[in-house]
């Protein structure tokens, strides 16, 4: 079904269309949720909540193109993840200024996707959240600070720590460059 028609059918509550949209994006969004949350069970709960919000919000969504549509859904999912983290008080940000560690970003760029994904999910929650928001989602430190209620500097230092930990993990495990 064409995306716009699918959206219209979802708005009307067509269960088949809703299932089609779910099947199309469930894996991708589950992965996204799992990048933020510590367990598959939590990730599933957030995924379900996110889809409910998507179905509810479709009637107000102005469709322009598929990229915008997917970005809109992704934003909903990220917000749901952050809400869950706040609700369960899972974000603990160490406010101590981290020593500046120079990390070669290129190293991370050359790791195989599945390996880096796995390493991200193993990062401490605070580092992981900032790393996800900055590196993967592309938010600025100022925006992250507002989202997590931390200062811009804290966001930067958390990112730095995350990168340092990833680098250390790469060195330790001797992960091959992809």
């Amino acid at each position: 079904m064409k995306e716009q028609l699918l959206i219209q059918a979802c708005i009307k509550g067509d269960r088949k269309a809703q299932n089609e949209l779910y099947n199309e994006f469930a894996d991708r969004f589950f992965r996204l949720c799992l990048r933020y949350l510590s367990s598959e069970e939590l990730a599933e709960d957030v995924l379900v909540e996110g889809f409910l919000k998507i179905f509810k919000g479709l009637k107000d969504f102005q469709y322009e193109n598929t990229q915008r549509f997917q970005a809109w859904m992704k934003k909903i999912m990220i917000n749901e993840c952050l809400m869950q983290l706040r609700k369960t008080k899972m974000i603990t940000i160490n406010l101590e200024d981290a020593p500046q560690i120079m990390v070669d970003d290129d190293i991370l760029d050359h790791i195989a996707a599945e390996d880096i994904y796995q390493m991200i999910t193993e990062l401490p929650q605070g580092y992981r959240t900032v790393f996800n928001l900055y590196v993967i989602e592309g938010f600025k430190h100022q925006e992250i600070g507002e989202m997590l209620n931390i200062s811009e500097g804290t966001s930067k230092s958390q990112l730095n720590k995350a990168k340092a930990l990833l680098k250390s993990a790469i060195t330790k495990q001797g992960i091959k460059y992809g």
Partner: protein, 202 residues
Amino acid sequence: MDKLRSKIENMNGLPPNSSWSKDQGWKKLESRLEKKSKRIFIPIWSRWAAGLILLGTLTYLLVNKSSEISLEDYVLTQIEPETSGSPFSTANNQVNKIDLSDDSKKATSSMSSPSQIARSETASIHVSNRALSLPMEIPTVDSIYRLEIRKRPDYAAIADLIAENNSNEKERLIQLKINTPSFNKGAVSASSLSFTTKFQTP
């Protein structure tokens, strides 16, 4: 970092060690969607109607409340009252209740009307918009029974009028016309109430 971003974003399928079931996730979502669709649907017009009813009720209550006049606002002065042991009765449809005190020298006349006036021994009266009751000393034949209602704090007279009609020696009709103010949305306007009482001399 851009390479890393696109690598992560373009990952398809579930992580290799994942035990998550997409179908199970759909069942969970579907049951939540079912629950939502089973919720009682209340049409918009009925919500509006309920809102209007609520608004009407609140307005009614507010208007009624605003038209109540406090006990302390009025003073009733009884001029030339004469007492006797006459039983007190009424001859007006508006009057629906007469209470005689034990010594038969005082009577309370309650009437269905837009206002209520109750007088105590201290000559205070209560005016409200529901019923009128007037405890009074029973006048003798030929007495002129005059009521004067004044409003505090300036004691401006509102109204008083007594008309007497002697039908016979033992039965008399006293007609009272009392103008009481009514308060509505902050504005004061006079409303006239009249009732007739009949009393008999022993």
